[in-house]
């Protein structure tokens, strides 16, 4: 191992190509991971902020707010289920909004939520015609006190404050009282308007085993509801699963490329070292020791690449103007990407094992210059 590390220190140039290539791969991995996390965050913030263990949708709604309707009767049955401690109604309208000061065609996408139970970072619902706004609107020119005109009916909603990380399905959100939401829905989506007391979904707090409570809720409503965990509700938002799956596939392919790069590089290096390995085996080095050196070198190369890649990710996080690219830097992502890259390097270097094993110590003797 010391031999392998000393070689890297004395002949860093030999490893520069591998470090450079793996660094590019590490950057790509962390960029892809950051984009995925950013996209997911911008899609699921509104659900993650809910003060709930469970979200109750109506049956056949396929976890879609748009298709789901919960009547006051159903709500009462849910509230009566043992283990349910708090129930709040929630509804959302997805519309385009005009921002004062912006051009007439310069619309922004808005999801207006009506809520009863305050999501994290929000107080209880504001008065009619007022709403707390997602911080992302600030980057689109919205200021506290502005009045946005929502939808074709241009329903006015006044922004009275901002809140972080509550985006929904890629759009910024407004948080208003249930009545404001119903008014907006009636004015702009008359076909989808709901009666008094009706919500699209319920957010439920439980005590004890949440999944058992979920099953009890669905039994208590006679199958009129589908109750899922908050995380599952977030995953069910349109595009979230697809984004995750597509990005994870690209990340997987990138890791395969990392394996191939490491495998090729160390295969070449091993071929170059056949004479040296023959000599070392002849004087008593075991194949295990020599192969261990190859793995150590691959791991060091990967760690260097991961470190530079992490630095790049941090730099990107610092320099990207907010509201441009949906890039989100999570410490877990850096750690997982680095571990994945190191594992890829170990797997890649393993392709040299057969070559190292096959080096014959007898090749050291009787070979003329």
């Amino acid at each position: 191992m010391r031999l392998a590390l000393r070689e890297m220190r004395r002949q860093p140039g030999r490893f520069a190509t591998a470090v450079a290539l793996l660094t590019l791969i590490a950057m790509l991995l962390m960029l892809l991971g950051g984009l995925l996390d950013g996209l997911i965050q911008r899609s699921t913030g509104a659900i993650r902020a809910q003060p709930a263990d469970l979200v109750v949708f109506s049956a056949a709604s396929e976890h879609s707010f748009l298709r789901s309707r919960i009547s006051p009767e159903i709500r009462a049955r849910v509230a009566a289920v043992p283990g349910v401690t708090r129930v709040g109604g929630i509804g959302v309208s997805q519309l385009a909004a005009r921002v004062p000061g912006n051009g007439p065609r310069d619309l922004v996408d808005v999801a207006l939520f009506g809520y009863e139970e305050a999501p994290s970072g929000l107080p209880s619902p504001p008065a009619a015609g007022r709403a707390y706004a997602d911080r992302v609107f600030e980057d689109q020119g919205v200021k506290k006190g502005d009045t946005l005109s929502l939808g074709p009916a241009r329903t006015p909603v006044r922004v009275i404050g901002f809140v972080e990380d509550v985006s929904y399905s890629g759009a910024g959100t407004l948080w208003a009282s249930p009545q404001t939401w119903r008014d907006v829905q009636d004015a702009n989506r008359p076909g989808s308007s709901v009666g008094a007391g009706v919500f699209q979904a319920l957010v439920v707090r439980t005590s004890g085993d949440a999944s058992a409570v979920a099953r009890r809720i669905d039994r208590a409503t006679g199958g009129a509801t589908v109750t899922v965990s908050r995380a599952d509700a977030a995953d069910a938002i349109g595009g979230v699963r697809q984004q995750r799956s597509v990005f994870n596939q690209i990340i997987g392919v990138t890791l395969v490329i990392a394996i191939v790069v490491v495998a090729l590089f160390f295969a070449l290096l091993t071929v170059e070292r056949i004479g040296l390995y023959g000599m070392l085996k002849a004087i008593g080095a075991r194949s295990r020791t020599l192969f261990g050196g190859v793995v150590v070198q691959a791991v060091v190369v990967a760690l260097m690449a991961a470190t530079i890649g992490s630095g790049f990710a941090l730099l990107l996080d610092r320099t990207l103007p907010p509201g441009t690219i949906p890039y989100q830097l999570l410490p877990n992502r850096l750690i997982v990407s680095s571990i994945a890259l190191v594992l890829a390097a170990v797997v890649g270097s393993a392709f040299s094992l057969r070559r190292v094993l096959r080096v014959d110590p007898a090749s050291a003797i009787g070979r003329s210059s």
Partner: protein, 232 residues
């Protein structure tokens, strides 16, 4: 040095056969050779005569097809490849013809490689390396890389490495082939002096008859058959 006064090397009717397709090539045929400790034997033969095979079997790099090989009292004939590897590391010294030193290690580190590939001892090994470098006239060259040393100095480093494990037997593979006559003789003289002063047996493979007078005995090999000459 050797166990119970046993000879450094005893090969008894050693045969080595390589299968090539349907036929067999006999590289070594019933070779019988005994080398006492403190004895230097020159092994002379043309290329393809089997001297490399003999040397490899004597050093535990190859296993014989038939016969017995006893190095310093240890019968290594039936050793597994792994046990042979350990045996070489602990009991045999090698000086090779071509790839000899690790290019990215200094002279001193090249000696310490022997310690690093085995069970590391650390400080005693460093002390021994420094002592060997001094004895071989390389005291000021310990921190030099092989590329900055002369051919003769490189051979000295290789000899130092072969002596690091305090071997029972040292095998020299054409140690003078890359050197001119004068330097070759100096190296042979050095080999003789170092081996004699430490009482270590050595086999020096060469095809250069001019170098044989540094050995206690010359053994010729032709087509895998040994023809011994009487001790001088």
């Amino acid at each position: 040095m050797t166990k119970d006064g046993a000879p450094a090397l005893r090969m008894d009717s050693v045969r080595k056969v390589y299968p090539t397709g349907d036929e067999e090539v006999v590289a070594l045929d019933h070779a019988t050779l005994t080398i006492d400790h403190e004895e230097i034997v020159a092994l002379v033969g043309p290329s393809g005569s089997g001297k490399t095979t003999l040397c490899s079997i004597a050093g535990g790099i190859l296993s014989p097809t038939a016969g017995t090989v006893v190095v310093a009292g240890a019968d290594i004939t039936g050793y597994s490849a792994r046990r042979l590897t350990d045996f070489r590391r602990e009991h045999v010294g090698f000086v090779f013809q071509t790839v000899n030193l690790v290019p990215f290690l200094t002279a001193r580190e090249n000696l310490l490689v022997v310690d690093e590939i085995g069970r590391r001892t650390g400080a005693p090994a460093r002390k021994r390396a420094d002592q060997l470098l001094e004895e071989l006239g390389l005291a000021g060259r310990g921190r030099h890389l092989p590329a900055t040393l002369s051919g003769g100095q490189r051979q000295r480093v290789a000899i130092g490495r072969a002596l690091m494990n305090d071997p029972d037997l040292v095998l020299f593979d054409e140690p003078t082939s890359a050197l001119d006559t004068q330097l070759g003789e100096q190296v042979m003289e050095l080999i003789r002096d170092e081996m004699n002063s430490r009482g270590i047996a050595a086999v020096v493979v060469t095809h250069d008859e001019r170098m044989t007078h540094y050995a206690d005995r010359t053994v010729h090999i032709t087509d895998g058959v040994l023809e011994g000459s009487p001790p001088r």
